[in-house]
């Protein structure tokens, strides 16, 4: 039995020590916003924050998260930077199928928490581990800039 601090709540779970955090979140705790994509840290769909750092939960043993603050997509909107990123994602209309976007948003939020004014190279470094098969990369870059600057980067006419 281990205790995980997920989105500010202590949660007791009875899981094997080596069980990846991803499956604890999805199949035991029932937080399904964190996605399974590859299982080998190649796609970033499973990205969560561990003490504010973006990590791939599909290869992180649950025991490694004990005593640390876990933030998932369900909790990121409670932070200022997370909220801004989500709003920018809506503003730029990033999502297509949407499956990878929760992981993208978690990576972007971690980037902006550490580098409030990221350069294109910073965005490359932080985001190139998150795959998107719908190919929303152009808008992801735009949304990160919008979240960073607060300036609308893409003209939108929304009814």
């Amino acid at each position: 039995m281990i205790v995980l601090t997920i989105n500010g709540h202590d949660t007791q779970v009875d899981v094997p020590d080596d069980m990846p955090l991803l499956w604890v979140l999805r199949d035991v705790v029932g937080l399904t916003g964190t996605k399974f994509g590859c299982g080998i840290a190649q796609c970033g769909a499973c990205t969560v924050h561990l003490d504010g750092q973006a990590v791939r939960s599909c290869v992180l043993p649950a025991s490694g998260a004990v005593g640390k603050k876990i933030t998932t997509i369900e909790g990121i909107g409670g932070t200022d930077v997370g909220k801004r990123v989500q709003q920018a994602w809506l503003g730029v209309e990033v999502a297509q199928c949407g499956y990878c976007q929760t992981g993208q948003i978690m990576s972007a939020a971690a980037l902006l928490a550490q580098k409030p004014s990221p350069t294109d190279a910073d965005i490359d470094t932080a985001m190139s581990g998150n795959l998107c098969r719908c190919g929303t990369y152009v808008r992801i870059r735009a949304a990160i800039k919008q979240a960073a600057t607060g300036t609308t980067v893409v003209p939108q006419t929304i009814a």
């Binding site: 916003g33 499956y99 490359d124």
Partner: protein, 761 residues
């Protein structure tokens, strides 16, 4: 897929006398069932999730306006990222005079009688058909509903309906300053006689169509609350993962599950004829269990098959097989001139949707319930009925949002497998494939071997053109009834039989060479056009080079009377700055022009190829004329994303077979494009009042030839085999030596992998 085969019922004139006959017979005339005067005879199945206790007004199969203020649109197509929900809701909202936010959208339940897509001949989402399919039908539906609601208001007020106006679902009679909401009118409207004819709005009055409206499905996609199929959790559910025989056509011989069953959380090991599944308390237990199985496969007849063999077989078939004519114009024989010929090879491709394949199934003695994101819900019912022996009416499919489709979810093989597993247990089970299984058990885009040739006149113009493609037919198994009389699968010659160019003598044919039994092929984003436009547009580039002409000017000269193609070409040239400025060494600009899925596109790309052979995409300019644009935001997104999908395939993706099994495993060796590799993409839309063309696949179609033509411009190397072989693009051996000495320890220390990669590149 071939979109020309089934006639489209929405072409039936609303006033045609034959229409009523069609309605009496029922069948596929879904959108117009209401015109038979039987508009309130619904027959929507209970699982349509339309509350049957509500007396409500429902003017046709797609729309329901409730007396509680609800406006439901039961979508005939599924949402997999392409924006179909938003586009369809927009068409309805426009004619109903309601806001997009007032409409609730739902997946249609499996019912091919009601929801078959006439362009596909089945209840399916694919072929970039959604807007083309419902452009007329949904607007007519909305206009009819509006007519009846306004008529109900006018009757109540005893006024002329023509004096009434509608905004946001509120009918107003200005002269007497009275208003009624649709909710208050729905019951009365259901008793109004159905109009014989409705008139959708004059486009100049459009309020919503053509505006970049927000997608209706986005908010739940940024906070993690939108459930995809893989997120389904039902009471008592367990989780399984599965391994099927890696050799196609092979079977399960035996399995020793002693070690697997000893793993905590493993509940059961279940066999089918060609696969083993481990069911656990959670995915991790199931996966640990799967890896602990000792499986013996009976590898079957394909045990020595390889892609090397496949391409030898394709080449042999191309030379000696029996061609099926796709199109012939004039006479290609005995045309004198300079002959240019080339051979192109395209690989098998996997879809690798971000959401791995999954299905949740609960089989009970008298029923079967399925939760899945599928492009073909009715086919899922068919396979579940086959596997369980239950009648189709006992099978319920709860369709879910799709974490990417791209054609993969047009196939119900995984649902069939899931039901076969679930019927062996008495609890609901969610079967989730690993990424490795997802790549190893796909329905692959077929490989193609194409020989193409042209004869040029003294001015370098092609006066004869032959194009022979050789490869497997997807349609032959997907919809055999849609195959042409002469055995032609139109998909194989789509966008090669009809070119935007005027060429006096043409012969385009296909040698059918199917994959060995057990190795299934499938639709893949862009289908026939993705394959053919790459070959045709690469070859046109070759001809321009052979003629010593600028590739864009060469295309312009070949266009003939084709104003829409000409317009996109000219605008792309202007926006991209074609012919302006001098590009640095090993930089190149390429162009591709085509008319896939009823739309016209021209893409111009700038690339740099490093001395080490790495391709850096700098910029892409896409110009599209897709007829009436329902939502320019969606059009832009689909072109951007579609091109990324195509570049992924051109640069990295390729499925190879060894010993009858797929060699690639995961995103490490089935690579796809990443953010740091994606160039700036501009999308320009040419205003048009033509009928809407498809959009979801067009970017993918254009991406590959635009890229490889730019690489040719940068290096002089013509790419005739995909994926692109970097070795062919290396400037010289010294370049490869230099790159190693350039890598400084500082990069490694900083941990900046992307910077290191860029430097190495």
């Amino acid at each position: 897929m071939n979109l020309r085969v089934p006639p489209s019922p929405h072409d039936v004139d609303l006033q045609s006398p034959s229409r009523r006959e069609l309605i009496k017979r029922g069948g596929l005339v879904v959108a117009f069932m209401w015109l038979g005067g039987a508009g309130r005879v619904w027959g929507l199945p209970d699982n349509a999730r339309l509350d049957p206790s509500h007396p409500a007004f429902a003017p046709n199969a797609f729309v329901r306006i409730g007396n509680d203020g609800s406006i439901q649109l039961v979508m005939p197509t599924v949402e997999m990222g392409q924006g179909s929900y938003t586009g369809q809701a927009t068409l309805l909202a426009e004619e109903l005079d309601v806001g997009l936010d007032q409409i609730t959208v739902e997946h249609a339940p499996p019912n091919r009688k009601l929801y078959a897509n006439p362009l596909l001949g089945d209840q399916a989402t694919g072929g970039s058909t959604t807007i083309r399919f419902c452009w007329t039908s949904l607007r007519n539906a909305g206009a009819a509903a509006r007519y009846m609601l306004v008529a109900a208001a006018a009757q109540r007020w005893k006024v002329d309906a023509a004096q009434c106006t509608v905004a946001r679902g509120v009918v107003t009679h200005a002269p007497t300053n009275r208003t009624l909401r649709y909710a208050e009118l729905a019951d009365a409207a259901s008793k109004v006689t159905m109009p014989d004819k409705v008139s959708p709005k004059d486009p100049k009055d459009f309020q919503l169509i053509g505006k970049p409206l927000r997608r209706v499905d986005t908010p739940a996609k940024v906070d993690g609350t939108l459930p995809f199929g893989i997120d389904i959790r039902v009471p008592g559910m367990k989780v399984a993962t599965v391994r099927a025989c890696p050799t196609f056509g092979g079977k399960l011989a035996s399995v020793d599950d002693t070690r697997a069953r000893a793993i905590p959380g493993v509940l059961k090991v279940v066999k089918t004829d060609n696969a083993v599944a481990v069911i656990g308390e959670h995915f991790w237990a199931a996966k640990q269990g799967l890896e602990a199985l000792d499986i013996t496969w009976e590898r079957g007849p394909n045990a020595s098959f390889s892609t090397g063999q496949l391409f030898k077989d394709l080449a042999e078939a191309s030379e000696h097989g029996k061609p099926i004519l796709g199109r012939e114009v004039g006479h290609v024989d005995n045309v004198k001139g300079k002959v240019v010929s080339a051979t192109y090879q395209l690989p098998l491709l996997a879809h690798a949707t971000m959401e791995p394949i999954n299905t949740t199934v609960h089989v009970r003695p008298d029923s079967c319930e399925i939760w899945v994101g599928t492009q073909v819900p009715a086919r899922c019912v068919d396979v579940a009925a086959k596997v369980t022996g239950l009648p189709p009416e006992s099978i319920t499919v709860h369709n879910q949002y799709l974490g990417g489709g791209f054609g993969r979810r047009l196939f119900e093989d995984s649902v069939e497998q899931a039901v076969a597993i679930a019927k062996q247990v008495d609890f609901p089970v969610k079967i989730v494939w690993t990424r490795e299984e997802d790549i190893a058990q796909d329905r692959y885009r077929p490989a193609y071997y194409d020989r193409i040739s042209a004869t040029l006149d003294d001015n370098g113009k092609p006066i004869a053109w032959t194009d022979r493609t050789t490869g497997a037919s997807v349609l032959a198994t997907f919809a055999p009834g849609a195959m042409g009389k002469n055995g032609l699968d139109g998909d194989l010659v789509e966008c090669s039989a009809e070119l935007p160019y005027a060429i006096p003598n043409m012969r385009v044919d296909w040698v059918r060479h199917d994959m060995p039994a057990g190795l299934a092929v499938g639709w893949w984003r862009g289908v026939g056009p993705t394959h053919n436009v790459y070959v045709v547009e690469s070859f046109v580039d070759e001809l321009a080079h052979a003629a010593g002409k600028d590739p864009l000017a060469y295309r312009r000269d070949l266009l003939g009377d084709n104003p829409r193609a000409r317009a996109v070409l000219e605008l792309a040239a202007q926006k991209a700055g074609w012919g302006q400025g001098q590009l640095p060494p090993r930089h190149g600009r390429g162009v591709a022009l085509a008319a896939p899925f009823g739309s016209y596109l021209c893409v111009v790309m700038d690339v740099e190829v490093t001395p080490q052979g790495e391709v850096i995409m700098k910029r892409a300019v896409a110009v599209v004329d897709c007829g009436w644009v329902v939502n320019p935001n969606t059009v832009e997104a689909q072109i951007q994303g579609g091109m990324v999908f195509g570049w992924s395939a051109a640069l990295y993706s390729g499925i190879t077979l060894k010993n009858g099994a797929v060699e690639q495993r995961n995103f490490n060796d089935y690579r796809v494009l990443r953010l740091n590799e994606t160039p700036e993409i501009e999308v320009h839309i040419v205003p048009s009042t033509e009928s809407p063309g498809g959009i979801g696949e067009t970017g993918t179609v254009m991406a590959m030839p635009a890229l490889t033509n730019a690489i040719f411009a940068a290096t002089g190397v013509r790419i005739r085999t995909l994926p692109i072989d970097r070795h062919a693009l290396v400037q010289d051996q010294n370049a490869l030596k230099a790159v190693l000495s350039d890598a400084t320890p500082a990069d490694a220390a900083s941990g900046d992998a992307a910077a290191t990669a860029r430097r190495l590149a």
